[in-house]
Symmetry: C2
Subunit: 359 residues, 2 copies
């Protein structure tokens, strides 16, 4: 069995503004453990893959930064999308690249913007998933929910397909989009749901078959790109085809209607580090509940998250509780923890005002 | 009558940290109207005095910055204290300089760190005060209280001495230090008290007479300095004498026990700009009660004061109420308005830690 990894590294991570920017996307940020999110993503799978088996799909503007973070990866393994069209086209493009190497290859789809605490367990799960994928199943890694989060999609577990190496493999019965708080509560309580981690394992020919069946127009577009692969006309073909590709997520476009999907619920200390609050969960707090990355002097200050890229700037706080402070060279965010979800709205406002230097 | 102004410009303005620093004291800050506090102080009296009649007493470390703000003042009019010993020694040193020019000169003692909205009324009051001073009275400008502030000293008005040019002149019956809230309330309600503005007008020989009577040791020290005035030994004499000078305020040291003190209550839109809150009173707020000097984007933000020296840095706030944010190149303060008085404690903490770069 040939086995490849495809790391999706195309997003920006809007909710981590002002640290995340178009020119400094989330996957290039050192949020945890002194390594960038992309470096963590590569490190995690290094024991399972040779560098030439690890592929990255991203935008042209990010290639240079990502390549410098993983110089061991061959240059040609960075697959460049002319522009982001959602996860389905990104995965499709990666799949045709791998298909040309080995149509029966098993590919692991991973993201560069998640954190995983228990990497050893994660790798064992991938090995089990690869076995299932080789048999023709579309495998998803489900995350055992630690809270009734309304920020994730959920996967309903159906019948048990088997127990392998300590992992239970279930038929995936239904994909559910981000639920209401009440629905989330009942789903988690039932014990029958996993969070959708966005990590998938499948044979290349199987996922292309699903694209053909469920996203027929895109499949034709993909075929045109694949025909040009390895020829001098590849770039031109991609640039010609891509603007006509419809935006779509892999969940909507493929997984919800796919045949023979299985889910492997795992407990690997996963976090999507999707917001300042979720980053706070990963960093150690002092006895007053303050988390500080930077230089801080506080009086009567509790439950604050301070994240600064400016080492020599002192951040002094007096009488603050429940606040997120993010200090960067050219922009400062001060946000009540209760309204942290508004960071996205703030970035939209900057977009509406066309304040490019802060985007 | 010869008439001189002595502007005291020696303080730092701790409560305006992190804007105010040892190297960037309050009198050099552009807090209001695009001019520094010192520039405002000179501008205010320019119609009353020739440049050579305006003297400044300050520390050696501040002379260059102040001189560049008022290049029209003769260099020799900057009287340098080897180190600050409080307002009494600063005024005494200024007085001996003026005494040598004209023992019967009238001197106005002013500060460089107060704001006055109605400068025309202020100047008319000074002219009246100078008339009273020429007759031998020690004159203080009292401020008609706008609130029962516990942050100022108070002066009790005794008998009415006269009405001159629309100003009432009272015998000053008693100087009171910063009162309790209840005492302040009763004092303001009685209508018999003014705030002590720290602005005085008197004949040079009269104030030296009071130093001789009430601060005899300092008077001897002053005499030693005066004897050296105009000789090559002046600097050496000052450096020899000054370390032995006791710290003292003019209020404690002289005014409380002085004979023939009068007070002229004035309503001139005076503020000591002693804290971020008092600065906020001087700046226009938008419809949400926000005062912004700098670049700001706020969601659900009310009653905040933002003061930034970093024009190109964006300050974004979400879900904040009642907060002061002061952004400077190397230090940032975020402080609940309710605990604003703690800024001084924070600076003390920096001193205790010997964090010189932030002092």
């Amino acid at each position: 069995m040939s086995f490849y990894a495809l790391i999706m590294a195309g997003g920006v991570g809007t909710r981590l503004w002002p640290l995340s920017r178009r020119h400094r996307p989330k996957q290039s940020l050192k949020l945890v453990g002194g390594r960038t999110m992309f470096e963590h993503a590569v490190d995690r799978i290094a024991p399972l893959f040779q560098p030439e088996e690890i592929f990255v799909v991203t935008g042209a503007e990010h290639v240079e930064a990502l390549a410098s973070q993983a110089p061991e990866l061959p240059t040609e393994n960075f697959i460049v999308e002319p522009e982001g069209r959602g996860t389905a086209p990104a995965i499709g493009l990666g799949a045709v690249h791998l298909h040309r190497r080995d149509p029966e290859a098993v590919m692991v789809v991973l993201t560069a913007d998640h954190f995983i605490a228990d990497v050893e367990c994660f790798r064992r799960a991938l090995v089990v998933a690869a076995q299932m994928a080789e048999e023709g199943h579309l495998v998803t890694l489900g995350i055992k929910p630690s809270s009734p989060s309304t920020g994730y999609g959920y996967i309903k577990q159906g019948g048990l397909c088997g127990e392998i190496e300590g992992f239970s493999v279930f038929e995936a019965q239904r994909f559910t989009e981000k639920p209401s708080p009440e629905t989330a509560f009942h789903m988690v309580e039932s014990g029958e749901y996993s969070w959708n981690s966005g990590m998938f394992i499948w044979r290349v020919d199987r996922i292309l078959e699903e694209f053909q069946r469920q996203m027929a127009e895109f499949y034709v577009q993909l075929a045109e790109v694949e025909a040009a692969l390895g020829t001098p006309g590849y770039e031109a073909a991609l640039r010609r085809v891509w603007p006509g590709v419809e935006k779509q997520t892999i969940d909507y476009g493929v997984m919800e209607g796919a045949a023979d999907v299985v889910v492997i619920p795992v407990d690997i200390g996963w976090s999507d580090v999707g917001s300042w609050a979720s980053l706070a969960d990963l960093l150690p707090a002092d006895e007053r509940g303050n988390i500080v990355v930077g230089s801080h002097l506080g009086l009567d200050t509790e439950d604050v998250l301070i994240f600064s890229t400016e080492e020599r700037r002192l951040i002094a706080t007096i009488g603050l509780q429940g606040v997120v402070i993010v200090d960067t060279e050219d922009a400062l965010l001060i946000c009540s923890k209760e309204q942290e979800q508004q960071v996205r709205a703030l970035v939209r406002e900057l977009e509406a005002r066309d304040e490019k230097e802060y985007l």
